[in-house]
Symmetry: C2
Amino acid sequence: MKLMQIYASLKSDLQTIEDTLASSVASDLPLLNESAQHLLKAGGKRLRPVFVLLGGKFGDYDLERIQYVASALELIHMASLVHDDVIDDADTRRGQQTVKAKWDNRIAMFTGDYINGKALVVASQLRDARIHQILSGAIVQMCIGEMEQIRDFFNVEQSVRNYLLRIRRKTALLIAISCQLGAIAAGAPKEFADALYRYGYRVGMAFQITDDLLDVCGTEKKIGKPPGSDLRQGNITLPVLYALQESGLRDQLLAEIERIRAGAGEANSSAAVKLVRGSGGIKASERLADRYTAGALHELDRLPNTPAKRNLAEIAKFVAQRSY
Amino acid sequence: MKLMQIYASLKSDLQTIEDTLASSVASDLPLLNESAQHLLKAGGKRLRPVFVLLGGKFGDYDLERIQYVASALELIHMASLVHDDVIDDADTRRGQQTVKAKWDNRIAMFTGDYINGKALVVASQLRDARIHQILSGAIVQMCIGEMEQIRDFFNVEQSVRNYLLRIRRKTALLIAISCQLGAIAAGAPKEFADALYRYGYRVGMAFQITDDLLDVCGTEKKIGKPPGSDLRQGNITLPVLYALQESGLRDQLLAEIERIRAGAGEANSSAAVKLVRGSGGIKASERLADRYTAGALHELDRLPNTPAKRNLAEIAKFVAQRSY
């Protein structure tokens, strides 16, 4: 498997970032230390640091400098997950208890704030004002995306465009700037940084659509949480929106969604999930994810032929990989 | 009244900051726009911007530059209030409905995150890395302070030192760096910036102790919320800690606090408030606040004799002013 090789080739640099992350979130306050370490140990793919490192390869790669970008981005991502779990009322993530479940919403809120603060401490090591502008802009957009998600809960009338704008803010933007900021921190030419941004944006869109597909089509074992979680909390994702466009299915699916909404978290979403699985929404969503992946690969054409470019191509393909 | 004159003398600069705040939090998303504007309109004394402006007078006062510091600090403060209200389960602040009460906790969490993000966007206009380091460090300390407050809820065994460390992080630090960063952004000599930091820290301590005294001794009309709110949510403040040291009072007060704790937000705190009001804890707290105020004034001795210095002295006296 190619992805393991990519991680292996970045192993020592990723370890440096892992150490920075661990020392960053360490706190004298046991409660905070515990909740933050819990989160850190829950792991994750460290996808954003990988993108930063690979983006950095298109310039003057200096780990000393780009590790701050990589760590800050991963911390921002981690903080957003903690706050996300409060909204989603999620008890598990990556098969582990969430901060909100192990402690409570208040602890989760301030753990998120704390990790966000630590991201800024790490980022303050960087002197390039442009990096701070891009970072802070993305943080704001992510918050707007979160708010849009709350606004759109159980909104069955929302458009596909609406969904795409939301996941752009919630997910794709941070991946886009991970690629871009790696390049900027390494002093790469602007055209490379721009192409990397567009690549990352498309990878991020494909990633989120695939994630939303997995929530419908995956098994609990595979996705580490019960399928249909999105629908249960009112998050209307792409396959559902496409399924709602099928006249033979629409009324039945609307009734199921209404039943879930009325159940206020107690209702089962498996009937709705079954309807969506049987719809054309799965194929249509897969097609859109594939289009984003193809677009991402296309953006790489503008970059010089290097191992890093080949790695980015592998990751783009991996991210949109599906096995339900 | 001297304070009004100080505000009047800074009026046009404060208006510039008010405009920056308003345009900063504006959003296309109606929900976010509404919650953020609601917060902005609730007003407040804009104490942190005032400290930044006055700190700036000890260097090369350039509003163009220091307005970003002032706006960023006020936004950070506003964001912390929104998250604070979630923890405190507060329905009103400054006599107005809180974001959490008008909408809900999730909206409040992301409104806070959004305003924090906007603070970073504003701060990213500044190119001095030291400013970013001081800002991010303070944000982290504030989060730790919030967590300590949660940890210490209903902890009747906590020491006065514990309380002081907590309010240092929660309140005093942000006021300290407001004074300091105003000076730094204006390129003032380090000794001035340092003295301003120490002045601000002491003013902040006096301010929080006075605020905690008001919660015990003030009328609902005066403080814009029912007295005893702190105790009702389990926040054990200085006058209570001092009262608990009185052997003739301790058992009765402990029983009242336990009754409030067991009531989980439903119990009335007026009996406990009455006990604390009748204790020596009020005078002792007033004395400590006065010592901090005196210390703050003492720090000003290191600064040149200017109108700004006289203004800072006036504010120190005003902040610790009490009329129950």
